[in-house]
C-alpha cells in the first residue's frame, strides 16, 4: 500500500488509476450481488441434491456450451479492441467493439430460445406443472430463472455501454491516450463473462 501510493495526485486532474479503482470497486459489488445468489444455490443444492440432479437434466447442454463459447469469444474481442486502439488502429477497434455487441446479442437470442423451450415444457415460475414438482425442483428453476435472468440483464447493460463506447470512439472522446472509459467498459464485460463461467457448470453440468 505504500510506494506507488505516493503518486497520488492531490487534485482533480485526470487520473486513470482513480477511474479504474472506482470501476473495480463497483465490479466487487456486482460480484457480491451474484455471490449472494450463489450462496442460495449452494445451500439449496446441498439440501436437495437429488432434486437438483434431476431438474438439471432438462437443461440443454449444447446451448449452454455454445453460449459459453460466445461469451468467452466476446471477452476476447473487447480485450483486443482495447489493444487495437492503444495501437492507434481506430477502425479495427471499432469493428471489434461492434463484434462484441453482436456476440452479446447472439447470446441473448440463444437464451431466448432456451427459456422458450423451458416455458413450453411448463417449467416456469408459478406454472401448475412446476408447483406439483418436488421442492428442490421448484427451487432449481427459481434460481435458474433469476440468476440467468439477472445475468442476461447485465449482458444487455454491457451491450448498451459498449455501444456508447463505440460512439465515443467515433467522436474521438476515446482516443489512444484517453482510453480509460473503454477499459472500464471492458472490465464490466469481462465480469459478466466471469459470472457466466460459474453459472454454466452449476446449472448445466451437474446431471
Amino acid at each position: 500500500m505504500s510506494t506507488q501510493e505516493h503518486t497520488a495526485v492531490a487534485h482533480l486532474h485526470r487520473d486513470d488509476v482513480r477511474s479504474r479503482m472506482g470501476m473495480w470497486l463497483f465490479l466487487f459489488t456486482e460480484l457480491i450481488l451474484f455471490g449472494g445468489m450463489f450462496f442460495l444455490y449452494a445451500v439449496y443444492r446441498f439440501l436437495h441434491q437429488a432434486d437438483f440432479h434431476v431438474a438439471a437434466k432438462s437443461m440443454n447442454i449444447l446451448i449452454g456450451t455454445v453460449n459459453t463459447a460466445i461469451l468467452l469469444t466476446s471477452s476476447l474481442t473487447i480485450a483486443l479492441s482495447i489493444a487495437a486502439l492503444q495501437n492507434k488502429k481506430k477502425i479495427l477497434s471499432l469493428i471489434l467493439q461492434g463484434i462484441t455487441v453482436i456476440f452479446g446479442l447472439l447470446f441473448l437470442v440463444n437464451k431466448y430460445f432456451e427459456w422458450s423451450a423451458e416455458i413450453h415444457h411448463g417449467n416456469y415460475p408459478g406454472s401448475p406443472e412446476l408447483i406439483s414438482q418436488s421442492s428442490g425442483h421448484i427451487l432449481f428453476f427459481g434460481l435458474y430463472y433469476v440468476m440467468t435472468g439477472l445475468h442476461g440483464l447485465h449482458v444487455i447493460i454491457g451491450m448498451v455501454v459498449i455501444m456508447f463506447m463505440m460512439r465515443f470512439t467515433i467522436k474521438d472522446v476515446i482516443t489512444p491516450d484517453h482510453i480509460v472509459k473503454l477499459e472500464a467498459a471492458g472490465l464490466y464485460w469481462h465480469l459478466v463473462d466471469i459470472i457466466w463461467i460459474f453459472l454454466f457448470p452449476l446449472f448445466y453440468l451437474i446431471t
Binding site: D15, L25, F28, T29, L47, P125
Partner: protein
C-alpha cells in the same frame, strides 16, 4: 472563543456558500457536485427524516403508555414500529455521518479539492432522495404502510398485503446510494491525499470512513440482492425463500444479517471516528494509540462481517454454527474495547474542556459502553435464548445505534456545523439541551433492559399490567428526550439564521487540516494545496494560549 467576528469579517475569498455557478437558486445546490454542498444537502434531508423517525418513536411510546389501545390500533402500531426502524436505520444512521460530515470534511482533512467522483457523489444523493420518496409513497398509497418490522422476515414479507414492493425497492436504492458513497471514499483516500499525507498522518476520522467504505462496498450488495429476490418472489411467484415453494426462510435471515450486522458498524465506526477527532481537540492531547485506533477500525470491519448469525441463535441453527458465531461475537468486542481504552487514556491528564461537542462525545463513550456490554451479554448463547425478542434487545439496539451513531451525529453537528456555515450556536442552550437529551435518553431506554430481563416481548402491541410501570417511566423519558432534542435543533437552526458570525479558522484548537482553511471553506477548499509534514493531533505542550484566538 468566537471573537468579535463581524469587524474582522471580510470576504476576501469566495466561500462555497456564496459561490455562483451556472445554476441559480435551488439548482445551484441540487445540481452542484461540490462535496461541501452535497454534504449540506444530505444534512438537510437526514435531519428532516430524523424528525419524522423521532415523531414515530414518540407515538410508539405514547401507545405503550397503557396496556391495550391507547391512541392507535394494532395495525397502525405495526406500521409505526416498521417505519420508525426503516427510517431511523436506512435513511438516518446508515447514510448518517459519512454522507453528511464525510462528504464535507473528508476531502478537506486529507488535503483534496473534492471526492474522487463528484458526479457519482451527487448521483448517490439522488438515489437517497428517491429512496426516501418511495418510503413516503409506501406510507400513503392504498395497500397501507409496511408492517413487517424493519427486518422484513420471510414468510410474512411475501404474504402481507401492505406496500412491500415499494418499501423494498426504496431500501434497495438506499443501499445502492450507500455503496456509491463508500466507493467514492475508498478511492478518494487512496488517490487524492495531499503530498506528504501518508496513511498514518491521516486523521482518524478518515481511517474510520475508509473502514466504513469497505463495509459498505462489500456487504451492502448482499442486502440488495436479498431484497431484490423478495421483490421478484412477490411479483413473479418464483420459489426462492417461500417455504410453501420449498424455500428456507432461515436462509433469508442469514442473508439479511450478513448485511445488517455489519450495518451496525456502518453506523458506529464513523461515529467512533468523530469521537477520535473531538477527544484530542478538547483535551489538548495527542490521541493515545493512534495506530491502534486506526487498525481497530479495520479489525471491526473484518470481524464485524463474520458474526451475523448471532441474531439467529434462537432459530435452531446447528450447534457448531452457534458456537462459532458466539465466539466470533466475543472477538469483535476486542477492537471496540481498544478504542474505548484509548479514548479514556487520551482523556487522562488532559486539560479537558467541556464544550458541547465534548459533552456529546463523553456521553457517546458512556452509552457505547453500556450498549457494547449488553451486546456481549447477548453474545452468550444460554443468556441469549432467554433474551431473544425481548425488550432487552430493543434497549441494546437503541444504546448502540442511537447512543453511538445518533450521539456521534449530534457531537459532529456541534463540532463542525460552525465551521460549515461560519456561524456559532448559543453555547449555554447547547449544554442545557445536551443534559436534557442525555438524561431523557437513559430514562427512556434503560427500563427496556429491566423489562426485557423480566420477559416483555418486543414489538408487542399489548402487554401484561405488571410491565406498565416500566412503560410509563420510559414514555416519560421519551418526552424529556424529545424536548431536549427539539431544543438542540432549535438552537442549531437559530444559529444558521441569526447565529454569531465566526471567521477564525480554528474554532476549537483542532490540529487537523479542516481547521487550517478559512471559515466557511472556500469553493476549492485550499488557497494553496497543503504540504503535510506532521501528523494529526500533535499538540505541543502549553500551546493552548496560542490556539485560542485573543
Amino acid at each position: 472563543m468566537a471573537s468579535d467576528a463581524a469587524a474582522v469579517h471580510s470576504n476576501s475569498y469566495e466561500t462555497y456558500l456564496d459561490y455562483k455557478g451556472k445554476h441559480k437558486g435551488i439548482f445551484a445546490w441540487i445540481l452542484s457536485t461540490d462535496h461541501k454542498r452535497i454534504g449540506i444537502l444530505y444534512m438537510v434531508a437526514l435531519l428532516s427524516w430524523f424528525l419524522v423517525g423521532m415523531a414515530l418513536g414518540g407515538l410508539i411510546r405514547l401507545e405503550l403508555l397503557t396496556p391495550g389501545r391507547t391512541i392507535v390500533g394494532p395495525q397502525t402500531y405495526n406500521a409505526f414500529f416498521t417505519l420508525h426502524g426503516v427510517i431511523m436505520l436506512f435513511i438516518f444512521v446508515i447514510p448518517g455521518i459519512p454522507a453528511v460530515f464525510g462528504n464535507f470534511f473528508l476531502p478537506i482533512m486529507i488535503g483534496a479539492e473534492d471526492v474522487a467522483f463528484p458526479r457519482i457523489n451527487l448521483l448517490s444523493w439522488y438515489l437517497y432522495i428517491i429512496g426516501g420518496i418511495l418510503i413516503i409513497l409506501a406510507i400513503f398509497l392504498p395497500g397501507g404502510a409496511p408492517d413487517t418490522g424493519w427486518t422484513f422476515y420471510i414468510p410474512y414479507s411475501i404474504r402481507t398485503s401492505t406496500n412491500m414492493i415499494i418499501t423494498l425497492t426504496a431500501v434497495f436504492l438506499l443501499g445502492f446510494s450507500s455503496i456509491l458513497t463508500g466507493l467514492n471514499f475508498i478511492t478518494t483516500i487512496h488517490r487524492l491525499r495531499a503530498p506528504g499525507m501518508d496513511w498514518f498522518k491521516m486523521p482518524l476520522f478518515s481511517w474510520a470512513l475508509y473502514a466504513t467504505g469497505w463495509i459498505q462496498v462489500i456487504v451492502t450488495p448482499i442486502i440488495g440482492i436479498t431484497l431484490l429476490l423478495v421483490i421478484i418472489e412477490r411479483v413473479f411467484g418464483v420459489g426462492i425463500f417461500d417455504p410453501a415453494l420449498g424455500g428456507d426462510p432461515i436462509l433469508f435471515q442469514h442473508l439479511f444479517w450478513i448485511y445488517s450486522h455489519p450495518a451496525v458498524y456502518i453506523m458506529a465506526v464513523p461515529a467512533m471516528g468523530v469521537i477520535s477527532e473531538i477527544i484530542p481537540t478538547f483535551s489538548r492531547r495527542t490521541i493515545f494509540g493512534y495506530k491502534f485506533i486506526a487498525y481497530s477500525s479495520l479489525a471491526i470491519a473484518l470481524f464485524g462481517s463474520l458474526v451475523w448469525a448471532h441474531h439467529m441463535f434462537a432459530v435452531g441453527m446447528s450447534d457448531s454454527a452457534e458456537f462459532i458465531f458466539s465466539l466470533l461475537t466475543f472477538m469483535v468486542a476486542i477492537p471496540s474495547a481498544i478504542k474505548v481504552f484509548n479514548w479514556t487514556a487520551t482523556l487522562y491528564k488532559g486539560s479537558i474542556q467541556l464544550d458541547p461537542p465534548m459533552l456529546y462525545s463523553l456521553a457517546f463513550i458512556f452509552l457505547f459502553s453500556i450498549g457494547g456490554l449488553t451486546g456481549i451479554i447477548q453474545g452468550a448463547l444460554s443468556v441469549d435464548i432467554h433474551l431473544t425478542d425481548t425488550y432487552f434487545i430493543v434497549g441494546h439496539i437503541h444504546y448502540v445505534v442511537f447512543g453511538t451513531a445518533g450521539f456521534g451525529i449530534f457531537a459532529a453537528l456541534h463540532y463542525w456545523l460552525p465551521k460549515m456555515i461560519g456561524k456559532i450556536y448559543n453555547m449555554k442552550t447547547a449544554k442545557v439541551a445536551f443534559w436534557i437529551t442525555f438524561i431523557g435518553f437513559n430514562i427512556l431506554y434503560f427500563p427496556f433492559f429491566i423489562m426485557g430481563w423480566l420477559g416483555m416481548p418486543r414489538r408487542s402491541y399489548d402487554y401484561l399490567p405488571e410491565y406498565q410501570v416500566y412503560h410509563v417511566i420510559s414514555t416519560v423519558g421519551s418526552w424529556i428526550m424529545i424536548s431536549g432534542i427539539l431544543l438542540m435543533f432549535y438552537n442549531l437552526l437559530k444559529s444558521v439564521y441569526t447565529g454569531k458570525r465566526v471567521t477564525e479558522r480554528n474554532l476549537w484548537g483542532g490540529e487537523t487540516l479542516e481547521w487550517t482553511v478559512p471559515t466557511p471553506p472556500p469553493l476549492t477548499n485550499f488557497e494553496k494545496l497543503p504540504d503535510v509534514t506532521v501528523g494529526p493531533y500533535e499538540y505541543k505542550q502549553n500551546d493552548i494560549e496560542v490556539e485560542e484566538v485573543k
